[in-house]
Symmetry: D2
Subunit: 338 residues, 4 copies
């Protein structure tokens, strides 16, 4: 994917959400005869985030979905757990596993938890995965957390194993952008779980790639499914500013041809590592950008999302389900070097 | 509770959410040495609601909570599962149990489910319940569903077992009001799970009951915890109209002395049984009230919520936890007949 | 009004929104044969607020109204003009007058304005005022601004001249509360323009005052009209925190018996003088309270709003319109000293 | 503009918002030495819409703007006046003129108006227009209303006279799409007032037109300004469904290269002529599409908006302001036939 060049901003060292210092990502993939599914965990920091919460924001572009945990982010503007991504019917078990993870971590750190707000996002992989029998249990969630690292795979891994994007194989993708405000450099990183769009609508950098593929495959799918978009940044922002930034992630989807179909949960969650909110206190100080500087972050969010979606497709291998359904990889049809 | 008279509208036959035809409520209470908790399920209809969804709305008055399933109600204006209420850390397991319930019901009805949006609401009962060890599993959820009936207990039962309201024993309460629009009679029913408020703030029908109790008990609590408010009606309304109606439920809380404290998940969910949305189709017809008639429903929502909260407290018995914490019943201090 | 005592917090020196340092209020009343109307202006600070904006928030409890200027507050979390209150059909002319005021002030300060967001709130005084012929022009707005002072009248003055509250004479009311956070004292001040509620629903401090008056007057009105609620504070808060605080103003209305009727524009606007946002810059620092301290401000907002509404009615004189409609003063029927 | 072909759906007869039966558009342009501004009015129907309101919805994509009248649409889901578009500082006077227009119309129809909610949208034309001196008065608004017709000009006319889009001359553009649901044909029409975007970001149908123009002009502008998007349809929808449809209009902006900059009021307003809401009544019947059919309307909204923006630029002539500022027409640089 060296030559894919979307937008005009520079990307970070890894061109990944993990370019934001402290952020790691872990997967656990369930790849059996009947199951093509899994869980992916975005770890926003390496210390105890329940005791030092992160400024956060969320936005629902299309709410046909089952994501849990947004209500409290909306009210309090903070994130207190890692973000887990999985399949639609596994939200409950993954939610429970995240509660257990947070309780265990608290106990290791000498306190106990009586309330915690896990954030669990989902897309529906039922076309490749036997979703009825929930394959992601506490074991898989804990493995994903343990495996979290700055270097992680993209494509058909973790929660991305069974996803379908623009009728082709979707999954996990990531990208980043570096911006400069007030003489300082900051990173905006994006991770997406892609499961949306129809084949014929796919446009990459102005090229009507989807129409070409559709003519070859004769199997256009309706714009169904979802896209989960996670944004991390070390830019100091308030939760309101962050909310404005993540709303620009939709621009990336639209440029690739999606019109944000009905059957989707298009959900954005963002966090900033620059201000931490301690568990208690009387007065606090926030550092944040002046609103007039925010356009750089808007552009970064739009560009990184667009690129992350393409990367999720280019990194994915063709996947075949037990009943013969096949989702082919974009790279069989289109290649950025070409 | 015969002589409690809040507001000016008539209540329904049972003075309960189940006065709305088709609505039933079931509990499963977990009452062991360490656990004072449970699950309560509101069943909005007796037929297959996944195939014939109900018009629904939700509103978050204060979002410090973990309720799951609101995002899709907000987007689509429909409810497709029963509503489950439980303790904070049990949301995940109850969510998974609701998925299983819906999948089994679908299979009994000859189809399979690949996506479903359970609505799971919660309050935090950690002061009486060992919340760390999730005591509500699939078994308890299924029992609650099986036990659902128009006649159900209020007070310290089901999800209400470990709840605390205005420093006293809270739990499940219900009430209803009958209104007339265009010559027809309709019912507005409310069920609440009460876990909010401080003792000294409690005011009932203008009487500063809480200050008196506080002087006796010397143990005022901060306004912490949550209140879940479910509204059912057979009034034909659009989801937007229903959203306006449920927002008036906050009036009931305020009149009892709550100022809607920070540490709360004050969440409203409402549904109407008057318009059903089939699984598929091209065009539909909605019947709905003219907006000019909506005040009757506003008043009903406010009154029934106020009364339901008081009933949750009057119906509850004093409960003692394993560590000696006691939540006393309001009826030890105050009685509507007096 | 010396003996009216609502809630448990102390009020400020004047028991007024102007207890928040820097805040002033001005009126211009139009009292002619056909017109009982006017304009009231809340000045949030004494320096150039376009160049140093105030942190602000707004909330719409019931949006049947014509208030202008909220969209930008919602997006940017700042207020850049005084807040004007007037009658429903005068929003346009008052909006234009506020543009002119800001343009003139800018020119006096050596710059020019090409964009500005006036906030103009309204209630409908058509039952006492010939609203069709807009009586509030630029002249009245400028007079109100010029007359702004920490000491101002309440009741049937300014925008309050023609308003009706709970079927009695409403208008302008104000109150304040002093809270302590982290060893520092802060003020929460409220100003309301009251034009809502039905007579028989009015309850003051638990006393069913409205039912008594209704029996005497035989003229209950439906719960129609609106209530505009302005909150000022010197508490350092983010716009999100301020949004949470102003949402508690609804508690004050509910405790007085309103169920927030359909035909109302119940609108809250709040600002904090503690953090100013300069016109330009790269990075900023906000000071704000820790969320765990916010309950004190919630209680203050609820209490001050409840008291401000009662004061708007107690301060108002009986007003008679050209067509013989009479709105009598609450003080003819009820008195806090009694 | 014959050969411009955006998207895959058919456009209506005029390829205009007025393809929706009953919709007309009128302009009044103020073109003097110092003023390049005006007002454009979208008339949703030809009968008395105050007495028979239209189902409506609005959405704020970026709220840095002064649009008035959205709050009531949000609450009640109806539109009761034409929609006026003008420059930023003229919102007040145009608002007042719309009140007068509605009052006069009511009097002609034998009733009087005591409350009405004009919808006035704006973009900032201060780079070409002496915005400080409000040039749009009641006279211009009345002329725009009187001139309303199914055939109307696009480009630098009416409110579009002084607007700048992607650094070139923007203004008024329109387009439509025809969709089929349940065997019936419906029209989705869009009208935009374009004043957003930077030159170098402009992409048309995948061609990086903006970069080419920027190399020629050496004058890239920041992504500032606004875009007002009005959608009309004869599709029977509820206000919630309409809200979902208009949110897809942002897709059109993104595909042309905008990332929805900070300094913008990106505002969508939509109405449906298929269900009318009478002034009074007890029960109503709505006809509406089944949600599963909504994707066709989503695609139509996205395509028509994208095309309307391009048309606003292609129809506009180069405009020069009194101080020498020039906004050149896109057609000097790019032509769809080429």
């Amino acid at each position: 994917m060296k030559n894919l060049k979307i937008g005009r901003l520079e990307h970070g060292f890894r061109n990944s959400i993990t370019d934001v210092p402290g952020v790691t990502v872990g997967h656990c993939t369930v790849d059996t005869e009947y199951h093509k599914t899994g869980v992916t965990v975005v770890m926003p920091c390496q210390d105890d985030m329940f005791k030092n919460k992160l400024v956060a924001a969320c936005h629902v572009l299309n709410g046909f979905g089952k994501t849990a945990g947004l209500m409290q982010i909306q009210e309090l503007g903070t994130l207190e757990t890692p973000i887990a991504l999985t399949n639609t019917l596994n939200v409950g078990l993954v939610h429970d596993a995240m509660v257990e993870h947070m309780a265990l971590q608290a106990e290791r750190n000498g306190y106990s938890i009586r309330s915690v707000n896990p954030v669990v996002c989902e897309c529906n992989d039922a076309s490749l995965n036997d979703i009825r029998n929930r394959a992601v249990t506490q074991k898989e969630v804990f493995r994903a957390i343990e495996s979290a690292s700055p270097a992680f795979l993209e494509g058909d891994v973790g929660a991305g194993k069974g996803m379908t994007c623009h009728g082709l194989k979707g999954g996990i993708g990531s990208s980043s952008r570096v911006i400069e405000i007030g003489g300082e450099k900051f990173t905006v990183g994006v991770l997406v779980l892609t499961n949306h769009g129809s084949t014929s609508d796919l446009v990459i950098e102005g090229e009507k790639v989807g129409e070409q593929i559709d003519r070859a495959l004769h199997c256009d799918a309706p714009d169904k499914g979802s896209c989960i978009m996670i944004l991390a940044t070390d830019l100091p922002v308030t939760d309101r500013q962050l909310g404005r930034i993540i709303r620009r992630m939709s621009v990336g989807l639209a440029r690739l041809g999606s019109y944000i179909g009905h059957g989707s949960g298009e959900v954005m969650v963002g966090f900033s590592t620059a201000n931490r909110v301690p568990d208690d206190g009387a007065m606090m100080n926030y550092r944040c950008i002046h609103e007039n500087q925010i356009n750089a972050a808007f552009r970064a969010a739009a560009e990184a999302t667009e690129e992350a979606v393409v990367r999720s497709m280019l990194a994915a291998q063709t996947v075949r389900s037990w009943d013969g359904t096949v989702r082919r990889s974009l790279k069989e049809f289109w290649n950025p070097q070409a």
